[in-house]
Symmetry: C2
Subunit: 261 residues, 2 copies
């Protein structure tokens, strides 16, 4: 931050070299950056600054406590210590891949779909084997790991794979985690694909974010290859884009109209 000098007092009675105590007393010094500031650069009084400092300390303490709680509640991945596991998950897309061990108690606790499956007398409950359709070994392994640790290493593909599993097994925390990642990586190149993907898997936040990016690039929309494909594969969804665009235009026109009146 560049040093600031107090200039508001540079009137008839103010000289830059003046050491007059009275004058010095009029200069406000920031307790945070230790620079002098003008009244029109004023932030807070001392009392509010001290209160804000206490609040910040308290928030940091809360974060520390919560981090320690997260660390306590995190379970070891069943792949690292499979000795007490009581079922296995099989990735059906990977015929020769090994199964992944897990604990019924954890699956039941994290997913209402697994709960329904395992707490009732269903095939999966009796056999202790759950087949997971259309998923690779790596994605399933990351999925199971997340159920134990609430952590995953994501790239675009893994975030999509895990979002699909999270939606299917209703693991809301993981779904939000993947959506957040995909939103952070959104750009015009990915916007249409992400919009369609989000719509397919009920990822509303990602869908809204992708739509917003599309709205900013309507001039290029019809030249976009993903758009051309989407017109073929899901024209109803393309209509949603145009309806949103029209709605935005109508609102903008109404706002202009109000300003002009």
């Amino acid at each position: 931050m560049p040093p600031r000098r107090c200039t508001a007092y540079a009137g008839s009675d103010y000289d830059d070299d003046d050491d007059d105590d009275n004058l010095t007393a009029r200069i406000s010094r920031c307790l945070s950056c230790d620079e002098n500031y003008d009244p029109d650069e004023a932030g807070t009084c001392k009392e509010c600054y001290e209160e804000a400092n206490e609040t910040e300390e308290e928030l940091k303490r809360q974060i520390q406590d919560l981090k320690s709680k997260v660390s306590f509640l995190t379970l070891a991945s069943p792949l690292d210590s499979p000795s007490t596991t009581d079922l296995v998950l099989l990735p059906s897309a990977d015929a020769f891949s090994p199964s992944i061990p897990a604990h019924k108690a954890v699956l039941v606790s994290r997913s209402p779909v697994f709960r329904a499956m395992l707490e009732h007398d269903m095939d999966e409950s009796r056999s202790g084997t759950i087949k997971i359709a259309e998923v690779s070994y790596d994605a399933l392994r990351a999925f199971v790991n997340y159920l134990y640790t609430a952590e995953a290493f994501l790239d675009n593909q893994m975030a999509c794979n895990l979002l699909v599993l999270a939606e299917k097994y209703q693991v809301k925390h993981l779904k939000a985690y993947c959506e957040k990642y995909l939103i952070s990586k959104l750009n015009w190149e990915k916007a249409v694909v992400n919009f369609a993907f989000a719509h397919q898997h009920n990822a509303n936040q990602l869908q809204d974010a992708a739509l917003a990016v599309i709205m900013e690039n309507m001039d290029n929309l019809t030249k976009n290859e993903d758009y051309i494909e989407l017109v073929d594969s899901n024209p109803r969804l393309v209509v949603e884009i145009y309806e949103a665009y029209l709605g935005k235009q109508v609102n903008t026109a109404a706002a202009h109209c109000c300003v002009n009146i």
Copy 2:
């Protein structure tokens, strides 16, 4: 907060009713409490205030994320859904009390003592029953519940009971939780008992806090009934109190000496 008025400018060129724009521009207004303030009551400049606000928002977002992670990682108590449990705990102090169901995976994950017990071919591992000595049903139930949820309803007695179990089974998070509670309730009446209790169960933070309270009440120490009992039961520990007191006196004398020189 009482309203403040800027008074630093109340010199020859300042009149309380003066509406002069120049003068108004010299008055600093706190962006937090919206009151005017003097330079000697200055807290921060605007830039630092805005930075601090952003920091606070970011910390609050982190807290929200961590709370959601804690909620995701929290497991249902095995007492509420015992269907997938694979062992039971027996409170040996309560001969007729029911056993408490639990999951090996959770016990192993939370306690190195349970891990050693259950991952090796020991009696407990084979039988699926762990006897817990000198503990009531209620305390054991609260202990198991904490292993799943990182939450417990404490009063003084329960905090002591859980601290003993936490120390015995090396559940550090619970031990710190109980120590924090007991420290928050410390007073002179409880100080000697807590000091001895903390010493017995290696609760160093509680022991230090209790010793500090004792140091502030040395005049009343020899009349304290818990002290009289402690002299009988553990005179070595009483010596620790006096050694700490002596150390404090020597330090205080040294500090006085330095000031006088």
